[in-house]
């Protein structure tokens, strides 16, 4: 039983890692879900799997340890939450970038930091970016202030 589960855990994690290395965002999300399932099975396996130990107190013991099941339950709930969040982020990324390849977001270090950030490929779903020009209207005020400061410091 343990051997079977060990192989199963290995397969799930291998599939998850394979998907994680993909360039497509949704595959990355699915890969993380696979890894999470593998991990949950791993906890059940290390805690001991027996056919003869019933989980209920109405039958003859010795009973199976209930704590790993509680751990797995917690891990499943948390995994559900984080997967939902990650899917939302993936959807948002798709809406903002227009396609679901990780290259859509550009390279990290070769980025021009002065380029306007927040061009939307999908006009139906605008992201709530702060408009870049929210300070543009008071440029005249700033320039006057700047001149005043220069006069002060001269």
């Amino acid at each position: 039983m343990e051997t079977l589960f060990a192989v199963l855990v290995g397969l799930l994690v291998a599939a998850g890692v394979f998907l994680l290395l993909s360039r497509t965002i949704i595959r990355v999300v699915l890969g993380l879900a696979f890894v999470a399932y593998g991990v949950n099975l791993a906890i059940l396996t290390v805690a001991g799997l027996r056919d003869e130990s019933p989980p209920l107190l109405t039958l003859e013991g010795p009973y199976v340890d209930p704590l790993p099941q509680a751990l797995v339950l917690t891990a499943i709930v948390i995994g559900f939450g984080t997967t939902a969040l990650l899917l939302t982020v993936a959807l948002r990324a798709y809406q903002v970038a227009g396609h679901d390849d990780v290259a859509a977001f550009g390279d990290n270090l070769a980025r021009n930091p002065d380029a306007p950030d927040g061009q939307h490929a999908d006009p139906e779903h605008l992201s709530p970016d702060l408009p870049e020009a929210d300070h543009a209207d008071d440029t005249a005020v700033q320039m006057a202030e700047f001149e005043r400061l220069r006069r002060l410091t001269r």
């Binding site: 991990v39 290390v46 805690a47 982020v89 990290n108 400061l149």
Partner: protein, 533 residues
């Protein structure tokens, strides 16, 4: 009567810094005017700080334990505060107050509509829970509470940059969390418990054991990913500059330190039987991380990217100090931890003012010493602290660390010490380049200068004042660090949580004994109940 009240207070105190931000964070979700929301968030942060300070005062005498649901230590989850936990809790609460202040001073209608205040409050709650929990699996839950809030804050606003960096950050941390769950499962499978103190007792009874060492190294990998040690910290320098200033300051100052706190807790209190392999790993990773951080800081041109790389560097110093594994090195690391949290906070607040005043994220505009002379002074002081030069607290802590490294004696320790000295020099050069690029020189005429209101500038000055205070009170700081290190080296935490009586585990229930009252207590058995092969 009086002692009863005292007992209630001491048992509730470790819970207070956790429940305050979580509870008030829920209230922050209600629709209300902005000033009410700001007032509530600020009150929550200040209240958390008060409770954390009370906790720090109370833990001088011993470990404070709060048993959830009244279940004693190995059976239920405990919230346990010792000196280290209370110290970290206070440091993060200080950062929390500054963060809320800066968020209030920089109105951001879009993000506030999507509950950035509530998410920040949940983030504080998760951080406090990770510092104060006494249970390995609960540490995972605390990490998730903290990280889910930070994921949401990292992508809130959905700019391209935030989505790109945030997605990488989320995927990296979720993978690390999966490993943490595996480590929890393996620890339970090997030692049959998840309580830190009980784990420590059982691994001490088991002696050096390869499976336990493997679990320890697995935990090291997890916390190295969360704390951004070298090969696993690639997500950090991109993520922190992508988020708004206030949130970025908290992320940079506290989130990596949570991973380091977990490393300290696990390798001093829990799995300290076979320290050879983890210490070697920490020394090597620490030495490489320092150089990576210093060279990375040198290669960048943006304010917060440079500072993010100095954060990576500081993590390297802490791993180095922890890997030396001597009482002096531990004391030096704890002092450096405090200095690093406060100075990173100050640096990011200074960067917030500088970026807003110059209107660009690049360190490009020159001559700002004309417009912001006090900020220039603060930056120079913080730069000296980060690099570790004399009139600063950074010097005191780093000197202690280097001395411990030279006393370490092994070739690897000498190599890591050399790396520490070289990367300090490179960090100093990188930060002085910022100084000469931004503050020094003559301001070009065509570049605008934005004037900032005082509530926006004051946090940077106050945080710099805290850095000065750390330098002035370096003696008490090192004294506290010494006492904390002594606590961690002794079995005080274990005894404080588990009591000094040997533990009576009840026998495993059989089906026929269910209705009967008497279940004969068994003596302490080291082997796990399922007797693993």
């Amino acid at each position: 009567m009086n002692t009863e009240i005292n007992e209630v207070i001491t048992s509730a105190l470790p819970l207070a810094p956790i429940l305050t931000p979580l509870g008030l964070g829920v209230l922050l979700l209600l629709p209300m005017r902005r000033q009410w929301r700001v007032a509530l968030a600020l009150a929550s942060a200040l209240l958390t700080l008060t409770f954390a300070l009370l906790l720090m005062n109370a833990t001088v005498g011993g470990v404070l334990v709060s048993e959830l649901g009244g279940w004693k230590a190995p059976y239920g989850i405990v919230i346990a505060a010792d000196r280290l936990g209370a110290f970290m809790s206070t440091l993060s609460a200080i950062c929390g107050v500054f963060t809320v202040w800066l968020m209030a001073a920089q109105p951001d209608p879009v993000r506030e509509e999507y509950h950035s205040f509530a998410l920040t409050s949940f983030l504080f709650g998760g951080v406090q829970l990770s510092f104060l929990t006494g249970d390995l699996f609960n540490l995972f839950v605390a990490f998730e509470v903290m990280l889910v809030a930070s994921y949401a804050l990292a992508v809130l606003g959905s700019t391209r940059e935030q989505l790109r960096e945030g997605f990488r950050y989320i995927v990296m941390n979720l993978s690390a969390s999966a490993l943490l769950v595996v480590a929890c499962g393996l620890a339970y499978g090997t030692l049959g418990t998840l309580n830190f103190a009980h784990l420590a007792q059982r691994s001490a009874a088991l002696g050096p054991n390869t499976t336990v060492t493997a679990v320890g190294v697995l935990l090291l990998i997890v916390f190295a990913a969360k704390g951004a040690l070298f090969p696993l910290g690639f997500w950090l320098p991109g993520t922190y500059p992508a988020v708004p200033h206030a949130t970025g300051a908290f992320f940079a100052a506290v989130l990596t330190k949570v991973g380091l706190y977990a490393l300290i807790r696990v390798f001093t209190t829990v799995f300290n039987q076979d320290p050879q392999l983890p210490n070697t790993l920490l020394l090597v990773l620490g030495a490489v991380t320092m150089l990576y951080g210093a060279l990375g800081a040198l290669s960048q041109r943006e304010w917060r990217r440079i500072l993010s790389f100095t954060v990576v560097g500081s993590v390297g110093y802490l791993a180095f100090g922890l890997g030396l594994d001597s009482p002096d090195a531990l004391r030096a690391s704890l002092a450096y931890l405090a200095v690093s949290v406060i100075v990173t906070l100050a640096m990011f607040l200074i960067a917030a003012v500088a970026e807003r005043a110059s209107g660009t994220r690049l360190v490009r505009a020159r001559g700002f010493i004309e417009f912001l002379p006090l900020l220039a002074a603060c930056f120079l002081l913080c730069a000296l602290t980060v690099a570790g030069l004399p009139p600063s607290a950074g010097f005191v802590a780093k000197f202690d660390l280097i001395r411990a490294g030279l006393e370490g004696g092994t070739g690897l320790a000498y190599l890591a010490t050399a790396s520490a000295l070289i990367s300090s020099l490179i960090t100093l050069y990188a930060l002085l380049r910022v100084w000469s690029g931004f503050f020094w020189g003559r301001h070009p005429r065509d570049e605008p200068v934005r004037r900032l209101s005082w509530p926006e500038r004051l946090p940077a000055y106050l945080a710099s004042a805290l850095v000065v205070a750390l330098a002035l009170f370096a003696g008490p700081l090192l004294g506290y660090a010494r006492a904390t290190a002594d606590d961690l080296q002794s079995t005080r935490y274990v005894v404080g949580v588990m009591g000094d009586q040997p533990l009576d585990l009840p026998a495993r229930p059989k089906g026929d004994e269910v209705q009967e009252k008497d279940d004969a207590p068994n003596t302490e058995n080291i082997q796990k109940p399922q007797d693993s092969p």
